[in-house]
C-alpha cells in the first residue's frame, strides 16, 4: 500500500512541478532580465495565495504571451453573500479581483482573498495600517475548501457505509475497500479510545473520534495532491474541530472533572485557590493547542513543500533544480507521514481530554 502511494505521490509531485513550471515559466519570461527579487516575491505571494481559501477552484494560472493577460484555468464556484438579503452569484464574476462584480444594485471586489463591498468603480479605501475599511458582507460562499470538505464528506459516507453494509452482506467479514479501513477503525477503538477513555464510557465518543480521524487524515492527504487544497491548514477548519472537542469534553464532563478544576482534591486549601484559575485556563488551552498544532503543521508542510518546488525555478540549473526536486520528493514522503500523524495526534489528544471528562475517580486514593 505504501509503495503504491509513494509512486502515486511521485507522479503527483512531478505533475505539481510541471504545473507550477508552466505558470512560473510564463511569468518569468514577462519579468525576464529583471532581478531575482521579483521572482522571489512572486513565489512568496503565490505560496501565500495557495495557503488561503479561494472563491474558485483554480488549477493553474499563467500569463498569455500574445495578449500579456493572466489566464486562469479552473472551475468557478458559487459566491453566497448576506448583504441586505441573500446575494448569490458565480465567482467568475469576480474575475480574480481584476474587476468589480456587479450583482443587483451592489458592487463587490475581491481584494487579498476577501470580498469587499465597493462602489461602481471598485475603489477600496484604506486606514492608516493599510487595512481596507470597506464593508465586508457576511460570506457563506462555497469556496474551494468547502468543496474539498464536501468531497471528503461524500467520500467518507461512501467508504464507510459500504463497509458497514458489507458486514451484513458477508457474514461479519468486511469486503471491498472498507477492508483496508477496518483495522484502522479497530486501532482507534483499541489503541486510542479504550486506553484513554476507559472500557466503560468509550463507546459514546467513538463516532466523533472516528469521524474526526478520517476527516483530518483524508483532508491532509488531499492537501498533498497537486490540486492545491489546504483545508486542514486553515484556521477556521481547525478552530471548528477544536471547538467541537472542547464542547464535547465540557458537555459530557462528570462531577469529578469540575471538581479537579475548581477544587482540586488532595492539595492544601490555599493551593486549591491558586490552582483553580490555572486549571480553568487549561480547559481553554487544551483545545487551543489542538487548533494551532494542526494548523501550523499542515501550513508549514505546504510552505516547505512549495518553497522547495519553487527553488527549482530560482536555481534554474540542472544541479540545483534536481537537488531541490529530490528535497521536495523527500519532504513529500515526510508530509504523507505527517498527514497521518497529525490526524492521529488530534484524535489521540481529543480522546485524552474526553477521558479526563468521563473519568470517575475513586476518591479513597486522595
Amino acid at each position: 500500500m505504501f509503495t503504491l502511494r509513494s509512486s502515486k505521490q511521485l507522479i503527483l509531485t512531478l505533475l505539481c512541478a510541471t504545473l507550477s513550471f508552466q505558470s512560473f515559466a510564463k511569468e518569468t519570461k514577462d519579468a525576464h532580465d529583471s532581478d531575482g527579487a521579483d521572482l522571489k516575491s512572486e513565489i512568496k505571494a503565490y505560496i501565500q495565495h495557495h495557503l488561503q481559501d479561494s472563491y474558485d477552484f483554480n488549477l493553474l494560472s499563467y500569463t498569455d504571451e500574445t495578449t500579456h493577460k493572466k489566464v486562469h484555468v479552473g472551475l468557478p464556484l458559487p459566491v453566497i453573500l448576506w448583504d441586505n438579503g441573500l446575494q448569490v452569484f458565480s465567482s467568475s464574476k469576480l474575475h480574480h479581483g481584476e474587476s468589480v462584480a456587479h450583482v443587483g444594485d451592489n458592487y463587490y471586489k475581491l481584494y487579498h482573498g476577501k470580498i469587499y463591498k465597493t462602489n461602481a468603480a471598485g475603489e477600496i479605501s484604506y486606514d492608516d495600517h493599510h487595512h481596507p475599511t470597506n464593508v465586508k458582507p457576511l460570506d457563506f460562499s462555497i469556496t474551494k475548501s468547502v468543496v474539498s470538505i464536501l468531497f471528503t464528506a461524500l467520500l467518507m459516507i461512501l467508504l464507510f457505509q459500504s463497509l458497514a453494509r458489507s458486514y451484513a452482506k458477508n457474514g461479519l467479514i468486511a469486503q471491498g475497500i472498507g477492508r483496508f479501513f477496518e483495522p484502522i477503525v479497530i486501532y482507534i477503538r483499541d489503541e486510542i479510545a479504550i486506553p484513554n477513555i476507559g472500557e466503560k464510557h468509550y463507546r459514546k465518543y467513538m463516532s466523533f473520534l472516528l469521524t474526526l480521524f478520517f476527516f483530518v487524515w483524508f483532508l491532509n492527504i488531499l492537501g498533498l495532491t497537486p490540486l492545491g487544497i489546504n483545508v486542514t491548514g486553515n484556521i477556521a477548519v481547525t478552530f471548528c474541530l477544536a471547538t467541537l472537542t472542547f464542547l464535547i469534553t465540557n458537555l459530557t464532563a462528570k462531577k469529578d472533572y469540575w471538581m479537579h478544576i475548581f477544587w482540586m482534591p488532595g492539595v492544601p486549601k490555599l493551593m486549591r485557590v491558586v490552582l483553580a484559575p490555572i486549571e480553568l485556563l487549561g480547559v481553554f488551552i487544551k483545545p487551543f493547542s489542538l487548533m494551532i498544532r494542526l494548523y501550523a503543521n499542515i501550513s508549514a508542510g505546504h510552505i516547505v513543500l512549495m518553497s522547495l518546488i519553487s527553488l527549482i525555478f530560482i536555481f534554474k540549473n540542472w544541479l540545483g533544480s534536481s537537488l531541490s526536486f529530490m528535497l521536495a520528493f523527500a519532504i513529500s514522503m515526510i508530509e504523507i507521514l505527517v498527514a497521518l500523524l497529525q490526524a492521529y495526534i488530534f484524535t489521540m489528544l481529543s480522546a485524552l481530554y474526553f477521558g479526563m471528562a468521563a473519568e470517575e475517580h475513586d476518591h479513597e486514593h486522595h
Partner: protein
Amino acid sequence: MEKLIGEFSFGLFFWQLFIFVGLLIFLAKFAWKPILNAVDERENSIKDALKAAEDARNEMAQLQSDNDRILKEARAEREALLKEAKATSNNLIAEAKAQAQEQAEKILAQAQEEIAAEKRNAIGDLKKQIAGISIDIAETLLQEELKDQDKQLEMIAKRVESAEIQ
C-alpha cells in the same frame, strides 16, 4: 495572532461546522454503529468459538481420563475377582481334603474299633466255648474218675494236653 484572526473566515467555519456535524450524525447512525457492532459481534463470536473449542477439548480429555480410569478399575476388579475365586477354590479343595481326611480317619478308627470289638466278642465266645468244653471235659473226667481213679487222672492229663487254648 492578528494574522490568524485575519485569516479566519466565518463562512468556512460555518460550512465546516455544518458539514462536519452532519457527517458525524450520518456516519454515527449509518456507518460507525453498524461497523462497531459488527466488529464486536465478530470478536464475541470468535471468543465464544475459541472457548467452546477449549471446553470441548477439556471435555475430551476428561472423557479420555475417565475411560482410562474405568478401564483400569475394571482390570483391577477382574484381577481381584480372579484372585478371590482362586482363593475360594483353594480353600474349598483344602477344606474338602481335610474333611475327607477326617472322614477317612474316622472310618478307619471305627473299623478298627469294630474289628477289635469283633475280636473281643470272638475271644469271649471262644472262652465260653472253651469253658463249655472244659466243663464237658470236666464232666467226663468226673464221670471217669468216678470209675477209676488212675484212669481219671490219666484222662485229665491227656485232655488238658490235647485241649490247648488257641
